[in-house]
Symmetry: C2
């Protein structure tokens, strides 16, 4: 859960643009940050940060994306998403650095 507005992120280098869709899938639809303790709503397969969705459910007992009825006891940890966020975020940083450090060469025709 984002406790403050996230810092603006550097734009994606064109060569890494194919990873943008993966990045999008690893973000919570409530806070738009990477999942933090991802939980799945088993009846609709949507995922959110644990704190984001619990806060939402205390106000309205439905999935914010598809409006299916949800109670807090339905939520299940989706730990693979936490592992994916960790690995992807680390890979993304390494690849950004690699691209920024690469000598400027003309692209192959």
């Amino acid at each position: 859960m984002a406790l403050a507005l996230p810092l603006p992120e550097p734009p994606w280098p064109p060569s890494l643009a194919p990873l943008k869709d993966v990045d999008d899938l690893l973000r919570c639809g409530i806070c738009f940050d990477y999942f933090s303790i991802a939980v799945i709503i088993p009846q609709c397969s949507h995922n959110y940060c644990s704190l984001c969705i619990r806060k939402f459910l205390s106000y309205k007992t439905q999935c914010p994306t598809c409006c299916v009825a949800v109670s807090e006891s339905d939520l299940k940890n989706n730990r693979t998403l936490d592992d994916l966020v960790k690995s992807f975020n680390s890979a993304r940083q390494q690849l950004f650095q690699l691209v920024l450090d690469a000598p400027a060469v003309p692209a192959p025709l």
Copy 2:
């Protein structure tokens, strides 16, 4: 689910090695291929291809990774993993091609 042995995959170019952990997390622990219709076992958060785990459960009613008791009705679709497999696989192929096509230049010091 892999219906036949998958073709040997090309080795990861060193510059893309950071993505290997992400790749590993998107593979089923039964067939070792990318998830095909991923399902989650909510009580332990482990994921498998739908067909792989159903076949396994018909023989032994437990999670093959952590041995928690599981029945087929526990399984829930984990659709974000299917979407991640699709996006990641496409990005991986584009990035492999980009690296293979890149002119050989000396690495920056």
